[in-house]
């Protein structure tokens, strides 16, 4: 998802920096990916207090990264929880969604909660939840990347069978975000 966004931004002539976490942490652990887009960009990491849009693919993981959000920042939150095994083992507890949204509100200007998995299923494939979230990010109208460019990137990246499903998921996510912001 961040790679698609970054590629689209490059096509629009913008400068982009990003970072990913690969390797050991990927095995069920917390991972963070960053994308910085603009006319003036520095390192790959977003400094604390400077993130414009925090995209939480999972509620607890969104809250874990709250300190990166800026005071004017938005949170796009996928409401689908992934319960870590430490909770099943009784070593930790998972807070309620309401509690997570309330805590995110301590920094965020607005939290836009979306059931991306449901949107994805509605679009035709549960695997396009990430693209639904990407649509929601564009729905904030805070990105300097053109919607047409990201759609072109999605079209080029997926097979003829999967591209329409993903484009539909993108549009549904976009609309959901717009409704929430209204």
């Amino acid at each position: 998802m961040s790679e698609l966004l970054g590629s689209a931004a490059v096509k629009d002539g913008l400068k982009v920096r990003g970072s990913e976490v690969l390797g050991m942490a990927v095995r069920g652990g917390s991972v963070v990916s960053t994308v910085r887009i603009g006319k003036e960009v520095y390192g790959p990491l977003i400094p604390m207090g400077k993130c414009g849009v925090l995209v939480g693919m999972e509620p607890a993981e969104a809250l874990r990264n709250i300190a990166y959000l800026s005071k004017s920042g938005l949170v796009i939150l996928n409401t689908k929880k992934i319960i870590p095994y430490t909770v099943s083992l009784g070593q930790s507890e998972y807070p309620s969604l309401e509690k997570i949204i309330e805590q995110l509100g301590r920094v965020a200007r607005k939290v836009i909660a979306i059931d991306a998995s449901q949107i994805a299923e509605g679009a035709g494939s549960p695997l396009s939840a990430n693209i639904a979230m990407l649509g929601a990010v564009f729905g904030t109208e805070r990105l300097p990347v053109k919607v047409e460019t990201i759609k072109g990137t999605i079209r080029a990246r997926f097979s003829a069978k999967l591209a329409p499903v993903n484009l539909k998921a993108f549009d549904l996510g976009y609309q959901k975000c717009q409704q929430a912001l209204r």
Binding site: A9, V16, E20, L22, M24, P44, P47, L63
Partner: protein, 632 residues
């Protein structure tokens, strides 16, 4: 127009690349003809990228059995006049250290580049070592990029410089370069293809004491020439600001943090900046120029005070009176960030950071209290979980027969299975580096009188496990050696290894079986088991642990990720397990507490299986005391 790719010959065009892809692209542009590596985060994608385009560009690409061999493969190509790359993670360079220290006496004929991918904060590693010190030990010049674009450009120049100065070069990447992303302007791809020729000349290729003494002198002379050249290299840049009292020296990626910090603090017109692209050797003239123009200096670099100490030495030699700060203000541990550099500069200049970090820290600490911890864990259906359960059950049974206080010791190794140190499995008691599990087990066998059960993955076994296995036979170490054979280098992304039967370039080759090696080494107990046949597996482990001589058990089942992928490709349905709630005694929790499978969760006090995660391996069904779990 066709989509641009990593192999497009489209100089001037822009692509959004992963740092490691950009490094590979740099090697392609330089006309690299041989590339060898062993997988290791954060370096793996370099060779993976090259392997994909190997045939297009006529590059010989291999996953070597370990980093030592990878480096030797590249060195041989260089000696024969070809441009060659060896890439590896920071601790991989330790494995290649032996040839490396004499290769620098040889120097290079064809451009020879060692890519060292360091891992500040040890995101995916056992330590945070700083390989600039290894380079220093071998008079090896180091290029350190400040951005993904520069990583690509430096690769091109590293090959050129290596040939110009007849010396091997190190390019030091870090996690946030290799796994960073950026728009990258592509350069021209060299079309030059040389033919490898080995010219016999013992005077620089055979290392007896006589040659060593002579070539050491030549190596030092080469290094002195490089020292003079780096002052004018464009990767080192001095921006002097009139009247600046503070000078900042920033090395590699730290330069990007320093620039952003200076802008944040609004100090652009008050600070002079020296960007360092060659930490070894430093551009001495530029350093002196900066030191002579300011009252104090802050050296910004990740990990060790490598540049700082050299800058202090330069100041001392020339008697330049200037206060040099570095690791007194910049953290020694972990990776840097704009915040950390901002705080250091703010302290020195008595200015104020634009963000209230203290307030954000407080919020982060408060929310951490209500968040569940999410450590990495073995995947649902992972054969290692079944192996660990069987191994530990057998270990416990044998120990019980030996006495009440007896507890087996489980030395481990590097791979996905390292995660079995976590609760609830906890079947790893000591874990150091590639191959150390069997080595440590050898030592333990001679000093303790409890069962010693060591485990190693298949790729790691080929990499560094075999000598320790031979040692156990030779020195009669009564240990159980478990080889977890999932037919892949799984942790780094399923690269082929000597047991898989195919090469990095996709060619079929002999698949070497660990059990054949064990038998050939004189191990008398060698058995292969399927960890998902739990009862039989436990019995085999038990007999191995009781065996009076060194024993080898190969636990073989393909990595769950690969197994699922292959089943999907074959059009097979992925199974899943179900808990029959009327049979389940929800207080027992054996499935949860003994296996720690992420697919088994508690919902409203009941154990349930998340079908989106479960792949139906059925281990939970085999251990459920109430037979309440069905596999479909």
């Amino acid at each position: 127009m066709a989509e641009l790719t990593i192999s497009s010959d489209a100089a001037g065009e822009k692509l959004y690349l992963l740092g490691n892809e950009a490094i590979a692209r740099g090697a392609i542009e330089a006309g690299v003809q041989v590339a060898a590596a062993y997988p290791g985060t954060p370096s793996t994608e370099i060779l993976e990228t090259l392997a994909k385009v190997a045939k297009t560009f006529g590059i010989y690409v291999e996953w070597s059995v370990n980093e030592k061999v990878a480096f030797e493969v590249a060195l041989a190509a260089s000696v024969c006049g070809l441009r060659a790359l060896a890439s590896m993670k920071h601790v991989g360079v330790n494995v290649a250290h032996d040839p490396l220290m004499t290769a620098s006496y040889i120097g290079a004929k064809g451009g020879l580049v060692l890519l060292s991918a360091d891992d500040p904060w040890a995101w995916s590693s056992q330590n945070e070592q700083d390989n600039r010190y290894i380079a220093e030990q071998g008079y090896i010049p180091v290029l350190e990029p400040s951005s993904v674009q520069e990583a690509k450009d430096m690769m091109v120049d590293a090959f050129r410089l290596s040939e110009e100065f007849k010396q091997l070069f190190m390019v030091r990447s870090v996690t946030r370069i290799g796994h960073g992303r950026s728009d990258v302007v592509l350069g021209e791809i060299s079309k030059e293809r040389r033919k490898g020729v080995f010219e016999k000349d013992r005077s620089w290729l055979v290392y007896t004491p006589t040659e060593a003494r002579k070539n050491r002198v030549l190596m030092i002379e080469r290094f002195e020439r490089i020292k003079k050249a780096v002052d004018t290299l464009s990767y080192n840049q001095l921006e002097l600001v009139d009247g600046a009292r503070l000078g900042i020296i920033a090395c590699g990626l730290s330069y990007s943090y320093a620039l952003e910090a200076i802008k944040w603090l609004g100090l652009e017109s008050k600070v002079s900046v020296l960007k360092i692209g060659t930490p070894h050797p430093l551009p001495g003239k530029l350093v002196k120029k900066l030191l002579g123009s300011v009252e104090k200096v802050l050296v910004v670099e990740e990990l060790e005070p490598f540049v700082e100490n050299h800058v202090k030495a330069i100041a001392g030699e020339d008697n330049i009176r200037v206060k040099i700060h570095g690791k007194d203000l910049i953290p020694l541990v972990g990776e840097l960030s704009t915040r950390k550099v901002t705080e250091a500069i703010a302290r020195l200049t008595k200015s104020k950071a634009p963000v209230n970090f203290g307030e954000l820290d407080k919020i982060a600490q408060e929310v951490a209290l209500i968040l569940p911890s999410r450590p990495p864990t073995l995947c649902p259906g992972c054969p290692h979980r079944a192996s660990q359960y069987a191994m530990k059950t057998a270990g416990r049974r044998v120990a019980r027969e030996l006495g009440e206080d007896v507890e087996p010791i489980y030395p481990g190794d590097i791979g996905c299975y390292t995660l079995s140190y976590c609760p609830p499995i906890e079947s790893m008691d000591i874990d150091i580096c590639m191959g150390a599990g069997f080595g440590i087990a050898n030592g333990l066998a001679h000093v303790v009188d409890v069962p010693v059960i060591a485990q190693i993955g298949d790729s790691t076994f080929f990499h560094a496990g075999i000598p320790a296995m031979i040692n156990a036979v030779f020195n009669k170490a009564k240990i159980t050696m478990v080889i977890l054979d999932n037919r892949a280098t799984a942790m780094t992304g399923f690269q082929p290894h000597p047991g898989t039967g195919y090469t990095a370039m996709g060619e079929k080759t002999v698949a070497i079986n660990p059990e054949d090696i064990a038998r050939a080494c004189g191990i008398k107990f060698v058995e292969v088991l399927d960890p998902f046949d739990l009862k039989k597996a436990i019995d085999t482990f038990e007999r191995a642990i009781k065996f009076e001589e060194p024993a080898v058990v190969v636990s073989r089942s393909p990595c769950a990720v690969i197994a699922v992928r292959e089943r999907k490709e074959a059009g097979e349905e992925i199974g899943a397990c179900f808990i029959e709630q009327d049979k389940c005694n929800s207080r027992c929790e054996a499935c949860i507490k003994l296996l720690g499978c992420p697919a088994i969760v508690k919902e409203d006090g009941k154990a349930v299986i998340d079908n989106s995660l479960c792949i139906g391996c059925g281990i939970c069904a085999q251990i459920c005391p109430y037979k309440a779990i069905l596999v479909r």
